[in-house]
Amino acid sequence: MRAKPMNASRREFLKASAMAGGGLIVGFTLPGATRLAQGAAKEARMSAYLRIAPNNEITVVCGLSEMGQGVHTAIPMLVAEELDADWSRVRVEQAGVDQAFANPIFGMQATGGSTSVRGHWEPMRKAGATARAMLIAAAAEIWKADPAECRTERGMVIHASGKKLSYGQLADKAAKLAPPKDVKLKDPTQFNLLGKSGTQRLDTVAKSTGKAKFGLDVYLPGMLTAVIAYPPVPGGKAASVNDAKAKAVPGVRRVVQIPSGVAVLADGYWAAKLGRDALEIQWDHGANASLSSEGISKMLSAGAAAGGAVGRNEGDAKAETPAKKIEAEYEAPYLSHSCMEPLNCTAWVRKDGVEIWAGTQSQGPAQGILAQVAGVAPGKVKVNTMYLGGGFGRRFAPDPVIGATVLSKITGKPVKLVYSREDDTRGYFYRPASVTRMTGGVDADGRATLFTASVACPSIMEGSHFMKLPPDGVDEFGVEGIRDCPYDIPNLRVEYSRQEPGGIQVWFWRSVGHSQNSFFLESFIDELAYAAGKDPFEFRRSLLGKQPRCKGALELAAEKAGWSKPLPAGVHRGIAVVFSFGSWCAQVAEVSVAADGAPKVHRVVAAVDCGMTVNPDIVRRQIESAIVYGLTAALYGKITFKDGRVEQSNFHDYRMLRMNEMPKVEVHIVPSTEAPGGIGEPGTPPIAPAVANAMFAATGKRIRKLPLLG
């Protein structure tokens, strides 16, 4: 998920104005885009980042989607730090779709790629600092004092003489002042909130009482609930439909054919589902009716053997003749994201435009797409972002919002499109399957001299429909995590071969290419360590002389795990370290293997270097969350095809890690003054290789194909 970064200078000129009922708004005016977004007439409406009410309540408006990663807490913390706000009076509000909220890293309003804190670290602090400067200026005017004699603390401006005024008391006056062109941000040593433990999430109470509203919780007057019968084979379509029995189900209102399938619209989900069950459809399966996982594996394997576009080439890998050489083929399957909240969207196409309610990661792109679908100007598309019951990249995809909008346009009514769990599991947009062939070599002293990787997998860039393969023909998501191999190996070559089995839509899955490539690389480096007769931790360490932060994370994980200390009988360790999304994460897994080959993960010790942190408690929880997500996939995750059909359907055959399988997890943060890195994804890639490496330590058997349980 990358796009042109937006012109950063647009954010440098913050505006201020008065709130309708009194108070101060600090925000951003972007005439063209705002008019586009809001459908306002000629005058540009200001997009508020921050509001300070006379009652001292501070509202931070967040354009990013909350999907569990804690962004609805992190963004307000950035503002509150520079504002010296009273945190107990800070609340958060979800922004609509508005280019003023474009993610600075993407240039569009979207949440993903572990970019939120990285992209907003400075702009949101600047908004807070600007408001603070204006409140000080207002107080200084009232007191006829020099602003330099004023300081701020917990929502108050305090004069050297001891006089105080609250931000709420000052907000009206501050709203009449011009915002300063330039504000000085705090030095990190002055932070009171950022980087400190103990700030609770702002969404905890709503999410502990059933009050939090997700996409599925939207109900509109006159709304129909829709489910769609999708073609069972990718690229298939309905050849004939008999909907008589479906229409006879009480509560079913309409049956309509749309490009994605046959939709049943009813009063509520259950009637819609029963209606769909009663449809009689003859499918034209199209070209992919013989698609099988065996065939896909063969295709990818042949691609990896043949090689392809060169993504990295150092030294002379072809000429290198190491003292000892190893070669292996690794494989990873397609994966479904399986968010806890099944995919859904509520849309209402009216004469004056389109309005949707959805847990979406991509408001900006959705606005453009839905404008085309409904045949209206983008400014006529309104997006209400609900809480996301998990995202993991899946909610970046447009299929639910398009489906709901198409159905509302046809019926003229508000339509809630719901995916059943089976629809969600079988709904494609999968993490691509991949096969990678690697060779490695060490010299007589056991030092690595050769590494090559030939990757074969589908292209997410091409599949995304908003990116293109670059001129060198290497899909960056296909090779990330392997092309950026951090180890100092003189002869290193990475190739990529694009293979597209059977029109299966692939997509971004938490940590994207790293999710499989780090398993390949970090398992194979382990193999190379054993080939060299070296300890896997020491072998890695010896190759990281030019990568101090990577080495630091690796060493911290090893130290905290007690790498060289004995373990209980039958328990073995594996280690892995990965750089992704601007952060380094190393993990040590402690694993025992049962007689039937099944691993039990007892403990995971993680170390993360993500630069400066906003909320270290959330950082630790995100790493733990990412470990569970990655471990679930490593142990059980696979989407397979037979006769063109996805074989898995629900949680009984697409297994999830559960409470009784949950390892102890320890997360250690490397103290840092570096710029922030991402945190939602970097914990996912290392766990699969750490566990696989521990299983090798336990059994002497190397598992080169995911999932680990076969």
């Binding site: 909350e66 999430r201 009480p250 809480y387 998990g390 929880r621 733990e624 949680f651």
Partner: protein, 154 residues
Amino acid sequence: MVSLVVNGKIREIDAAPDTPLLWVLRDSLRLTGTKFGCGIAQCGACTVHLDGEPVRSCATPVSAAAGKKVTTIEGIGATRAGKAVQAAWIRHDVPQCGYCQSGQIMSASALLAKKRAPSDADIDAAMSGNVCRCGTYNQIRAAIKDAAASAKGA
């Protein structure tokens, strides 16, 4: 017509007897705190109590709830165990995306109502039917133990 007692209130619902209780709660009564996750009793997101027993409402026909007391996340705070569990959830900042947490809280409340001091094995047995995709299991375990300790002191 089906007559239910939901969170202490009598509710008359026009629904076919085999309609899952989940969809009556959500689509008819608009008690949206109870979540749809899988539809086949595999994830626990839809957990509610019937006469104090945890059930998966997605696989419970509404007819099976007739004449029984239905308690949902919206009403669980009125029970001693539920109140302690919700308070512990908030103290431990358990939720991430939050979607599974209503079901987690309902399962945990049923456990605590029966066992004042649940062991790890008790927690595994009571909670392994509830999937959390964000991986909050260790925080859930800690919150349950804390809720048990605080309820004991109360």
